[in-house]
């Protein structure tokens, strides 16, 4: 494996959790709901996934536990913002704080425990080709995240259910007047977003590190949120954006290793600064043209 191959693999590794979590949030936001709780759901997913994998000894059970944790937290969020029509920003922030605290509690007994990372795919012959590790030797999560991106693209752009979801996000009052089930679709979207965030958390604790430490999500949930805006709510741009930010993360790691005389803290902040710059450029350029029309607005039908 050459140096470039190794670098490409680390880029993919850094991009994958962002892609999974952000793709979930993209679907949620296209349905008109703003869930700022990704960071919290990712943290709980990482803790539960790691704990379940250690206790059961089964990676599959760990992944399932992480998804379940994301579902439970997002279900709580759905209860608040759909059932009680609470403010989505406040509820999402509360969800993040709750998730970060809860993950510390769940993971408390597992700090310092090590576990074998989920191994990458190995296809004899193909993986050993030049560049084969990038194309054929990635982690199963990576292939899943790419499949997720294209499935989302198809779902939103081509399927009837995707059209319904987009309509609801665009204008929930019109959608309701046409008899579309606004709250049911939004519930499904929120749960999907929660499952994706939980899964992205499992990737962190079962593949990326692989161990549990409090606060290990390190703001990736927020970057995922920014990515959705950066991608102007389009799946393919999100795919591109996730790899761009993955690249930025790896770049700063290499810059630190190369000791360029820049303080390491400044380099560590690079992906976050890039996030802010991307958001500023986007909003100056197009006045957030493509934001779903009903994004963040609570829906309360007449009786």
């Amino acid at each position: 494996m050459g140096v470039w191959e190794a670098i490409l693999i680390t880029v993919v590794t850094a991009a994958t959790p962002l892609l999974i979590a952000a793709m979930g949030e993209l679907v949620v936001e296209r349905a008109g709901v703003l869930n700022l709780g990704i960071e919290g759901m990712m943290a709980v997913g990482a803790a539960c996934g790691f704990a379940a994998a250690i206790l059961s000894g089964s990676t599959i059970l760990g992944i399932l536990a992480a998804i379940a944790a994301g579902l439970v937290l997002s279900g709580l969020f759905a209860l608040l913002v759909l059932g009680l029509a609470t403010n989505q920003v406040a509820s999402g922030l509360a969800l993040t704080i709750l998730g970060l605290g809860l993950s510390g509690l769940i993971g408390a007994g597992f700090v310092g425990t090590q576990r074998e990372a989920i191994p990458p795919v190995y296809i004899p012959g193909l993986t050993d080709l030049p560049g084969g590790h990038v194309l054929f030797g990635e982690n199963p999560f990576v292939y899943f995240s790419l499949a997720l991106a294209f499935a989302t693209l198809w779902f939103l752009g081509r399927s009837r259910a995707g059209l319904t979801l987009r309509s609801i996000g665009e204008n929930h009052a019109s959608a309701h007047a046409l008899g579309l089930p606004v709250l049911k679709v939004r519930l499904a979207a929120i749960l999907f977003g929660g499952a994706c965030a939980g899964l992205a958390g499992a990737y962190l604790s079962l593949v990326y590190t692989p161990f549990w430490s409090p606060g290990m999500t390190a703001g990736r949930g927020w970057i995922a949120l920014a990515l959705v805006v950066f991608a102007s709510w389009r799946p393919l741009r999100l795919l591109f954006g996730a790899y761009l930010f993955g690249g930025a993360t790896v770049l700063q790691l290499h810059a630190q290793a190369a000791s360029l005389g820049i303080p390491s803290q400044a380099l560590s902040a690079f992906p976050y600064v890039a996030t802010i710059v991307a958001l500023v450029v986007m909003s100056v350029g197009r006045r957030s043209a493509t934001a779903p029309g009903s994004l963040g607005a609570p829906f309360v039908p007449d009786r």
Partner: protein
């Protein structure tokens, strides 16, 4: 003959308000049935019940003789009830085809949708381009989407809620012939409007609601417009008196080649708009909704600043770069279209709302609000404009539309402004308050002020304006004397015919 749909004893309460009080209504197949009433009479509530959007507290609905429960719009649509909404239920960023596809019944393939849209369009004369995003379309085209969407489901009953309020006279004619074709084919139509001339032309029967009750049912072809109006209102409606002959003063307000890109993504840019208004006259600006009226009002009031100071003048002084307060200091006053949230803050009291636009008139001293002065002013406005309200100084949002409109118009009127710009002065206002407001505008102009009235209601413009200009896609036509321009010609200008002449 069994009625297509029969409502019996429908009661709908919202808290203490009874919006529908034992309403009976029958619609026969092949009939165009008018539902008349003032704003707040309960028309919209009744059709929402009929379309499944609201559940009645009491009463029964029979569909072709069989009692039915309408649990939601999908249940109504499954029976064969279609609806064309007043405020369109469209999705601006989706295409025409997507807007139609999303409302088709489940399991209905969307593959041949474009062909079906074209077929319906051909049959009823409703041409549409399926791939255009909705926000690029005019109000008339948007309404066509709503109608095609309803027709694709082959409705037996079609409800239309004030369908002509956004159409040019010519577009309305096209709509009427579509509706005649539908009725001839056996479809029942329930037609809601407050344009009585249309009802007399188009409808076979009329049911009139007042304060939630059915007060009369008649054959509108046998009644006069005045008789229908008094049935709706319950009393004679005062006529607006034209001003006595008076000489015109100098130009008090002008726009000189005003060009302004829109700040809103889907907004309309103003293109070289010029207009001169002299003291003593009312200029009416007609146009179909969404052709730059909001942007024009913003530019005239100073909410949006022009590129050059000379683009807007008040009494000869260039004010194009001055904000709204600076323009007020030059004796201009402004009444925006939206009462709640633009002209008034709904949760604040009337006296606090006085301060919002009148803080320069002795409502503030040494940086502090003089609440006593504000309360006195509020009471003066209430008295002068007969504003009806529950409490002494209630929150603005608790007033009915007509009363709040009288208040916000009165607030500016009592300043005795030299220039008054008003957008949609009587939109959604009952006939009594409408007459009061129109009379006040005429009297203000007669006292020497320059008045600009932006309105989508041609009847209103003809009732009060001395000259009429038409706005289309951000361009303003020249202002024609009202006596010299007919509705036909205005309609053509509203549809954009002016471009051809200009070019």
């Amino acid at each position: 003959m069994t009625a297509l749909v029969a409502l019996r004893g429908i009661v709908k309460r919202f808290g203490t308000l009874t919006a529908n009080d034992h309403v009976d209504l029958d619609v026969q197949p092949g009939e165009i049935h008018a539902l008349l009433g003032e704003n707040g009479a309960g028309k919209s509530t009744l059709v929402k019940i009929l379309f499944g959007l609201l559940q009645p507290n009491e009463g029964t609905i029979r569909w072709q003789g069989r009692e039915v429960m309408l649990s939601g719009p999908d249940a109504a649509a499954a029976l064969g009830i279609g609806m064309v909404f007043q405020h369109f239920s469209l999705f601006d960023n989706l295409t025409v085809a997507e807007n139609i596809g999303v409302a088709m019944p489940k399991g209905d393939g969307l593959a041949d949708l474009e062909a079906r849209i074209a077929a319906v369009g051909k049959r009823y004369g409703l041409a549409l381009d399926p791939s255009r995003p909705v926000w690029t379309l005019s109000a008339g085209e948007r309404q066509r989407i709503e109608i095609v969407r309803a027709l694709l489901r082959e409705p037996k009953l079609l409800i239309l809620d004030e369908p002509t309020s956004v159409l040019t006279p010519q577009e309305a004619e096209t709509l009427f012939s579509t509706l005649d074709t539908l009725a001839a084919g056996g479809c029942g139509l329930l037609y809601i409007t407050h344009r009585l001339e249309e009802v007399r032309r188009l409808c076979h029967r009329a049911t009139i609601l007042r304060a939630g009750k059915v007060v009369a049912a008649c054959d509108p072809r046998q009644e006069s417009v005045a008789a229908l109006a008094s049935l709706m209102v319950g009393s004679e409606v005062a006529e607006v008196r034209p001003a006595a002959a008076h000489a015109l003063g100098p130009v008090r307000f002008s726009l000189n080649g005003l060009t302004l890109p829109s700040s809103d993504l889907h907004g309309v840019a103003l293109k070289a708009v010029s207009l001169e208004v002299r003291g003593g006259e009312i200029v009416g600006i007609a146009g179909v909704a969404g052709n730059g009226q909001a942007e024009l009002f913003g530019a005239m009031s100073g909410e949006d600043l022009a590129a050059s100071a000379e683009a807007v003048t008040i009494d000869g002084k260039p004010v194009g770069r001055d904000g709204i307060d600076a323009r007020r200091k030059r004796a201009a006053a402004f009444v925006p279209e939206e009462r709640n949230g633009h002209a008034a803050a709904p949760r604040m009291t009337l006296s606090e709302n006085v301060v919002l636009s009148r803080h320069g008139d002795g409502m503030a001293r040494g940086g502090l609000v003089d609440l006593r002065a504000a309360k006195d002013m509020a009471q003066a406005i209430i008295k002068a404009f007969d504003v009806r309200k529950g409490k002494v100084d209630p929150p603005a949002g608790t007033l009915s539309g007509g009363n709040l409109q009288k208040f916000v118009v009165g607030r500016e009127m009592l300043r005795k402004p030299g220039v008054l710009i008003v957008n949609q002065p009587t939109w959604g206002v009952d006939p009594g308050a409408t007459a009061t407001i129109r009379q006040a505008l005429i009297d203000l102009a007669a006292s020497g002020a320059a008045v600009v009235v932006i309105s989508q209601d041609l009847d209103e413009i003809y009732a009060i304006a001395d000259r009429i200009a038409v706005i289309h896609d951000g361009e303003l036509s020249k202002a024609y004397p009202a006596r010299e321009i007919g509705r036909e010609q205005i309609g053509l200008l509203m549809a954009g015919a002016g471009h051809a002449h200009a070019a």
